[in-house]
């Protein structure tokens, strides 16, 4: 199995899907000759031409709206939003249109669409190149929301997303694009949407996380393991629909829950996980449900000391694990 970076895995997935199905095309800003500002589509314009890899006008709502139209016609568009921070202008198209199309037409029209967007901070991007936006969309029935944490999942989930008959938001931890490496199974490789992954088994507590924070979580679990604390880590992979089964099973075993994400706390995705468990796992719980999340400020600041203050990391997570384990 060859090793690849996260972004190589994403590129591979698109390359294979473009080759497999001629209904698939890519549309976004600078995805063509430039190969994407992060190089996710590098080489694809040369390989598949300007009809399959389309440089869009600088206008996110119509990138998504045009994608929806093409999907209604039977195509399988992959829309790239250059940074998740710029998905906001397309909010109406995603929430009022893509998400509601199947329901509102009683199933006559469906929107097989993937929207890819790099998310997250820690890369000196400041308020508008660092945002986590998943919680806006995990509240919206009709959407699927996927966030991979490693190259194998990134590839398998993206290929599954392209084949899914629904609108799928696929958020990519951009800080991990080149930082996170891993092996990818050879040949056709798919990871089903809607299934969480127990990425590290443990008996003392359950740490639920996803994306870039999962990377820090693994490191944190290693640190506290040397102190005798065995953390079970669940990598959600698909945030909507939620794989409750896997969560409930783990909590039954450990009795303690820490939820970690980079997005700010209040109304973040972790709130829903906590709420599910406070209801359905109540009798299994031995401790308060803890959340470690970004602070409630509008976004990640630029200047290094302030960025560090905002960002989660292995040490902060390890501290939260220790505290919970000691409860």
């Amino acid at each position: 199995m060859p090793e690849a970076t996260l972004i190589e895995a994403i590129r591979q997935a698109m390359d294979e899907e473009l080759a497999r199905d001629e209904r698939v095309f890519i549309v976004g800003e600078d995805v063509g000759k430039r190969g994407g500002v992060f190089r996710a589509t590098q080489g694809l314009y040369e390989k598949y031409g300007p009809q399959r890899v389309i440089d869009a006008p600088l206008a996110e709502l119509s990138i998504v709206g045009v994608g929806i139209g093409a999907a209604l016609y039977g195509m399988r568009p992959i829309c790239e939003i250059q940074f998740a921070d710029f998905i906001h202008p397309a909010f109406n198209q995603i929430v009022n249109e893509a998400a509601k199309m199947c329901y509102r037409s009683n199933g006559e029209w469906t929107v097989p669409l993937v929207i890819r967007a790099p998310y997250g901070g820690g890369i000196g991007g400041g308020l508008y190149h660092s945002q986590s936006v998943e919680a806006f969309f995990t509240h919206v029935p009709g959407l699927k929301v996927v966030i991979p944490s490693n190259p194998a999942d990134a590839k398998g989930l993206l290929k599954a997303a392209v084949r899914d008959p629904n609108p799928v938001l696929y958020f990519e931890p951009k800080k991990g694009y080149r930082l996170i490496k891993g092996e990818i199974p050879a040949g056709e490789y798919l990871v089903p949407l809607g299934k969480a992954n127990v990425s590290r088994p443990g008996r003392d507590l359950t740490l639920i996380t996803y994306g870039m924070t999962h990377y820090y979580a693994l490191k944190a679990a290693q640190i506290v393991a040397t102190e005798g604390i065995e953390t079970e880590i669940i990598d959600l992979r698909t945030l909507l629909p939620i794989d409750k089964e896997t969560l409930l099973q783990s909590v039954k075993k450990t009795g303690k829950v820490l939820i970690a994400h980079e997005d700010n706390l209040t109304g973040g995705y972790g709130a829903e996980i906590a709420a599910i468990l406070a209801d359905q796992a109540f009798t299994d719980l031995d401790a308060p449900i803890k959340r470690l999340a970004g602070p409630d400020v509008p976004a990640v600041p630029f200047s290094h000391p302030m960025q560090d203050w905002f960002m989660p990391n292995a040490e902060k997570i390890a501290a939260a694990i220790r505290q919970l384990a000691a409860f």
Binding site: G65, V66, L72, G74, Q93, G107, W109, P165, N166
Partner: protein, 329 residues
């Protein structure tokens, strides 16, 4: 005047307008009787819609309509019965199975995509369909409509811009009835004609008397032919008047005078069409009377059908949230 279409077709167009009008009037009556909760009207817009419908290959080309497009829908094969199911929120409503408010169309068998209430969102969908047609090298065309007020939305601008940049086979109809609910055109745009917006987007724009179905047809035909031959999109502004209030929730007396409304009623698109067709000997008072009779029967029958149709089961509301849940396929 040389008639641009066979007599039979002209009569069919007239029939569609008449049927639309009578259905629409019945909807207002049903609302007054408390039998339906909401109606949004096409009265005054019929000529523009029928002109547009007959300019495309119906059932072959694609359509992204808006809520006033009852006449357009009928021309595409939507039936009076279906309209009554839609108005009454009954099972079998083809637009949404009772999920959407009335007149939020969708008719897959006729290539009519589903639209929502937030205005102008369908504009970029039309562009996307145009893009797909172009990518596949097909010769289809897509038409889409919005009111003049809705062209104030960035949604509209971005969708048209896509089609202009990529020379997509789309015709963008702006239905200018002077009002967006109560807000007059002067407070929406600083151009004299909505069609002038084409100048800033790099595509042709034509403003046409949308009260005259033949004028509308001819301008639309040119635009559709142009799109089909690969020469790109066009904006067609149909100048019409909304003779009724905005919807059954509206009271238009606060924002426009009765004189103005009466004045525009003189240019009722049905009267104009009847005069033209009678002048050409295509229509006679007798033929007209027969059509009226048939319309009345159809509308009566459709109302009876609608009233006796069942409501959806409450539990139907639980799906289909995802394509996997679709149960009507």
């Amino acid at each position: 005047m040389a008639l641009p279409l066979p007599e039979e077709t002209l009569l069919e167009m007239y029939w569609t307008m008449l049927l639309s009008r009578r259905l629409d009037e019945r909807a207002w009556a049903l609302h007054r009787q408390g039998k339906i909760a909401f109606h949004i009207s096409a009265i005054g817009h019929e000529a523009a819609q029928v002109g547009a419908a007959y300019a495309i290959r119906r059932g072959y080309d694609w359509v992204a309509p808006y809520y006033r497009d009852l006449t357009l829908m009928l021309a595409l094969g939507y039936t009076p019965r279906e309209f009554m199911l839609n108005l009454m929120g009954k099972k079998g409503d083809p637009s949404s199975g009772g999920r959407q408010m009335p007149s939020h169309w969708s008719l897959k068998r006729a290539n009519v995509i589903s639209h929502s209430a937030p205005v102008a969102t369908q504009t970029s969908h039309a562009a996307g369909i145009g893009l797909a047609i172009k990518l596949r090298g097909e010769d289809k065309v897509v038409i889409t409509s919005v009111g003049e007020g809705s062209t104030s939305q960035g949604e509209w601008y971005e969708g048209v811009n896509w089609a202009a940049v990529h020379k997509l086979p789309v015709v963008f109809i702006i239905v200018n009835n002077l009002y967006a609910i109560s807000v007059r055109q002067e407070l929406q745009m600083a151009v004299a004609n909505a069609a002038d917006k084409a100048l800033g987007l790099g595509l042709p724009g034509v403003s046409v008397d949308g009260m005259d179905f033949l004028t509308m047809y001819q301008v639309m035909k040119e635009a559709v032919d142009r799109a089909r031959s690969g020469d790109g999109p066009t904006i067609v502004e149909a100048r019409v008047y909304r003779i009724t209030p905005h919807s059954s929730d509206d009271d238009d007396r606060s924002y426009r005078s009765r004189e103005e409304v009466e004045q525009f009623k003189q240019r009722d698109p049905l009267l104009i069409a009847r005069r033209t067709l009678e002048g050409e000997g295509v229509l006679t008072p007798q033929k007209h009377e027969a059509l009226e009779q048939r319309a009345k029967e159809l509308v009566d029958e459709a109302v009876r059908f609608g009233e006796s149709a069942p409501y959806p089961d409450p539990e139907e509301a639980a799906y289909p949230v995802y394509a996997e849940d679709v149960q009507n396929a």
